[in-house]
C-alpha cells in the first residue's frame, strides 16, 4: 500500500500541525489573508525566485527532515514530483501583468517564474530530481488527485518514491480573491506542504459525496488553504496517531477521495 513517509507543513499560522489554531476563523480576527513569509533567502541561488518557489523548497526540506531523508537520497530519476496549486502562479502573474500594465518593462528574467511549473522546477533544481513529473492546477480535490497520480507512478514502477507538493499564496491577488468571496470563504491562509510517499498500489481514485472528517477538521483548524488542505489533514491525522488517513477534497463542485497509510509517529512526527 502507498504510505506516507514524511510530511512538511508550513502555514500562515506557523510550522507543523501543532501551530494551527483550534478555530481559524476566530484566530484570523477579521483578517482576510494570513500571509506566510518565506524563509531567509539563500543568497545568489534564489535571487530571482518568487516567494512561492522558496516556500515550495522549504516545504520539501521540512518533509525530507520529517522522513529522515537527505537531498541526495531523492536526487536522480528515482523520485517523482507531483505539484498542485490553485493560486500560487497568480501571485507571480500579477506582478508581471502589473509591470507591463503600468508601462514598465516586463523582465525576461522574471517571466519564467510566472509559470505554474516554476515552483516544482526550483524544487527539482534544488534536489536534483529527474523522475516522473506532473503539475496539476486546482484546489483540494486536485490535491487528492495528485496523491492518486503519485500512487499511480509508484505502482507502475515509474519511480521509487514520490513527493506530493502544494503551495498556495494569496497576498498579491487579495483583491481578486475578495471578488469571489461567495465561492471561496476565508480566511485565506497561505501554505506550503509536502508529503513523501513510498510503496505502491492500494490507492483508488474515488468520487466522494460528503467531506471526510479530516477535510472538515483541516478547514476548521487551518482556514482556506485550497490545494494544501488534504496535506493539512494528513498532518493532523499523523499527529493524532492515526494509521490511515481518509482524505477528501472539494473544488469547483467536485469532491474526490483517497486513503493513504500513515507511519506511527516517526522521525520528527512527534516533534509537533
Amino acid at each position: 500500500m502507498t504510505r506516507v513517509r514524511g510530511i512538511g507543513l508550513l502555514t500562515g499560522w506557523g510550522a507543523g500541525a501543532a501551530a494551527l489554531p483550534i478555530e481559524a476563523t476566530r484566530a484570523a480576527d477579521g483578517r482576510r489573508v494570513i500571509a506566510l513569509a518565506p524563509p531567509p533567502s539563500d543568497g545568489e541561488r534564489f535571487r530571482r525566485a518568487t516567494r512561492e518557489c522558496r516556500l515550495g523548497v522549504a516545504a520539501v526540506e521540512a518533509a525530507l527532515a520529517d522522513a529522515g531523508l537527505s537531498r541526495s537520497a531523492i536526487s536522480g530519476p528515482g523520485t517523482a514530483l507531483v505539484y498542485v496549486t490553485a493560486a500560487a502562479y497568480g501571485s507571480s502573474n500579477r506582478i508581471f501583468v502589473d509591470a507591463y500594465g503600468k508601462g514598465g518593462a516586463a523582465s525576461g528574467l522574471y517571466f519564467p517564474y510566472t509559470a505554474p511549473s516554476a515552483v516544482p522546477a526550483e524544487v527539482a533544481i534544488d534536489c536534483g530530481l529527474r523522475g516522473g513529473y506532473v503539475i496539476l492546477v486546482g484546489g483540494a480535490a486536485t490535491c487528492v488527485e495528485a496523491f492518486w497520480q503519485a500512487a499511480t507512478l509508484l505502482a507502475a514502477g515509474r519511480c521509487e518514491r514520490a513527493l506530493v507538493l502544494a503551495v498556495e499564496t494569496f497576498a498579491e491577488c487579495e483583491d481578486l480573491w475578495a471578488r469571489g468571496r461567495w465561492a471561496v470563504r476565508g480566511p485565506l491562509v497561505e501554505a506550503a506542504a509536502c508529503a513523501v510517499l513510498e510503496g505502491g498500489g492500494g490507492v483508488r481514485y474515488a468520487v466522494a459525496t460528503a467531506p471526510a472528517a479530516l477535510e472538515t477538521l483541516a478547514r476548521r483548524r487551518a482556514g482556506e488553504t485550497l490545494a494544501c488542505e488534504p496535506l493539512v489533514g494528513l498532518a493532523l491525522a499523523r499527529d493524532a496517531g492515526e494509521q490511515h488517513a481518509a482524505l477528501t477534497g472539494q473544488w469547483r463542485g467536485r469532491r474526490t477521495a483517497v486513503t493513504l497509510g500513515l507511519p506511527a509517529a516517526t522521525g520528527a512526527a512527534a516533534h509537533a
Binding site: 516586463a106 511549473s117 522546477a121 492546477v137
Partner: protein, 391 residues
C-alpha cells in the same frame, strides 16, 4: 525501479483548432502541403514588441458557439471539441467522462482583463488556469474527473498521459484529453523580453535557426480503453514524464531528463529503438533545443536514429505551447493513416550539429506505424509519448 508495461489506450478520434485551419482535415492538409501558418498578429497591439508575428487563428469568431464565449481559450477548445464530436460520439455515462487538459497559460489573458478592465467576480474566476477545462466539461456535459495539467510546453503530452492513467485506473470510461493556449499580450511580452522570438521564420534544426514564433491552438483526442474502441485513429502505447532539475528556463545541456522520459515511454510501451518509424520532435527552432533533442534521439535510438524521419511542425504553426504536443501526437496518427510524413517547414540548410533526417522541403510518402513524440517545457518539464497509428 522497474517500468511496468501499461495497457494500450485507444485514441478514438481527434479535433483541432489551429492557425492552419479549424478542423482535422484542414490542419492535416496544411501540414502535408507545407503551409506556413504564421502571420502578423492582428488581435492585439504588438507595436511595442520586437516581434509581432505568430501563428494566430484569424477566423475563430466565425463559429457561432465559439463567438459566444468571451474567453478565447474556451472558444478555441469548444471549436476543437465540435470537430472531435463530428468524428466520434461521447457514448458513455456522463459521470464516467473525464476531461484532462494541458496548458502553459490557462486563463492568464482573463486575469489580465480582470486586473485592468473587468472588475466583476466572473472575470476574476475566469483568470484561474483551470477555468477553460471546466468550461469544456460543462459544454460536453462531462461529469467525471476534470483535470488541468500545466507542465509548460510539455502540457499537451502530460495531459494525454494522465488521461490514459485515468482509464487504466478505471476512473473513467472516456477521456477527452489534449491541450490549448492562446496568443495574448502576456505571453508575447514574456517571450519578447526573453529574446526567444525570431524575426526570421521558424527554422527547426536548420543551421540558421534563430528562435521560435508563438502560436495559438487547441488539440483534443478522445481516449478509451483499447478493448472498447472499434475503429480507433490509433493507440497510445506508452508515456512518461521527467524533470531536468537543471535550469528554470533552459533545457538541460545534456538532455538527461528528456532521455529518461523517452526511455521510460518506450519501456512502458514495450518497444525497442528499431520499432520506431517516426520521431515527432519538439523542434522549436532555438539553437539549444534542437541540438539537445538531436543528441538525445541519437543516444536513445542509436544507429537507427539515422534511418528514422524526424520532423517538427512548429515551422508551420509556431510554438502552440500547451497544444503543441497534442497536435504533434495527432500528426503522428494521421501520418500513419495516410502514409505521408509532413516536412519540417522552414528547414533548408543542414547544421552539422543536427545531422538526422528532418524531412526537408516536402512531405514524404512513408509507412509509419510507431511514432515517438518528444516535448520539453519551461522549468525542465519533459514528456514523451509512444503512439501507434493505423490500429
Amino acid at each position: 525501479m522497474e517500468d511496468v508495461l501499461t495497457p494500450p489506450v485507444a485514441i478514438v478520434a481527434a479535433g483541432v483548432a489551429t492557425p492552419l485551419g479549424l478542423g482535422l482535415e484542414t490542419f492535416w492538409s496544411g501540414l502535408v502541403t507545407g503551409v506556413d501558418g504564421t502571420s502578423r498578429i492582428e488581435r492585439f497591439d504588438v507595436s511595442g514588441l520586437r516581434v509581432g508575428r505568430g501563428g494566430e487563428i484569424k477566423k475563430l469568431a466565425a463559429l457561432a458557439d465559439a463567438a459566444s464565449m468571451s474567453c478565447r481559450a474556451s472558444a478555441m477548445l469548444l471549436t476543437a471539441a465540435d470537430d472531435l464530436l463530428s468524428h466520434a460520439a461521447l457514448a458513455a455515462d456522463r459521470g464516467r467522462i473525464a476531461v484532462v487538459l494541458g496548458t502553459a497559460l490557462g486563463g492568464v489573458d482573463e486575469l489580465d482583463r480582470a486586473i485592468h478592465a473587468a472588475p466583476g467576480p466572473r472575470a476574476a474566476a475566469a483568470g484561474l488556469y483551470d477555468s477553460p477545462a471546466h468550461a469544456l466539461a460543462r459544454r460536453l456535459d462531462a461529469r467525471g474527473p476534470v483535470l488541468t495539467v500545466s507542465t509548460a510546453c510539455a502540457s499537451g503530452a502530460t495531459a494525454i498521459g494522465v488521461g490514459a492513467d485515468l482509464l487504466s485506473a478505471d476512473a473513467a470510461d472516456l477521456v477527452v484529453a489534449g491541450g490549448y493556449d492562446i496568443l495574448c499580450r502576456f505571453v508575447m511580452r514574456g517571450f519578447d523580453a526573453l529574446r526567444s522570438l525570431t524575426r526570421d521564420r521558424v527554422r527547426p534544426f536548420d543551421r540558421r535557426r534563430s528562435g521560435l514564433l508563438l502560436g495559438e491552438a487547441a488539440g483534443l483526442v478522445l481516449l478509451a480503453r483499447d478493448t472498447e474502441a472499434r475503429t480507433p485513429l490509433g493507440r497510445l502505447l506508452g508515456h512518461a514524464s521527467s524533470s531536468d532539475g537543471s535550469h528554470i528556463a533552459a533545457p538541460d545541456a545534456d538532455g538527461r531528463g528528456l532521455e529518461h522520459a523517452l526511455r521510460g515511454a518506450m519501456a512502458t510501451a514495450g518497444i525497442t529503438a528499431t520499432d520506431v518509424d517516426l520521431v515527432s520532435a519538439h523542434g522549436t527552432g532555438t539553437a539549444l533545443n534542437d541540438r539537445i533533442e538531436t543528441d538525445v534521439i541519437k543516444r536513445v535510438l542509436g544507429a537507427h536514429a539515422y534511418r528514422v524521419p524526424m520532423n517538427s511542425i512548429k515551422g508551420a504553426l509556431g510554438h502552440t505551447m500547451g497544444a503543441a504536443a497534442t497536435l504533434e501526437a495527432i500528426m503522428c496518427l494521421l501520418a500513419a493513416r495516410d502514409g505521408v510524413v509532413p516536412c519540417t517547414v522552414g528547414y533548408e540548410e543542414p547544421d552539422p550539429a543536427c545531422d538526422l533526417d528532418y524531412v526537408p522541403r516536402a512531405a514524404r510518402h512513408a509507412r509509419t506505424r510507431i511514432s515517438l513524440s518528444t516535448s520539453l517545457g519551461f522549468g525542465g518539464c519533459n514528456a514523451a509519448l509512444v503512439l501507434e497509428g493505423g490500429a
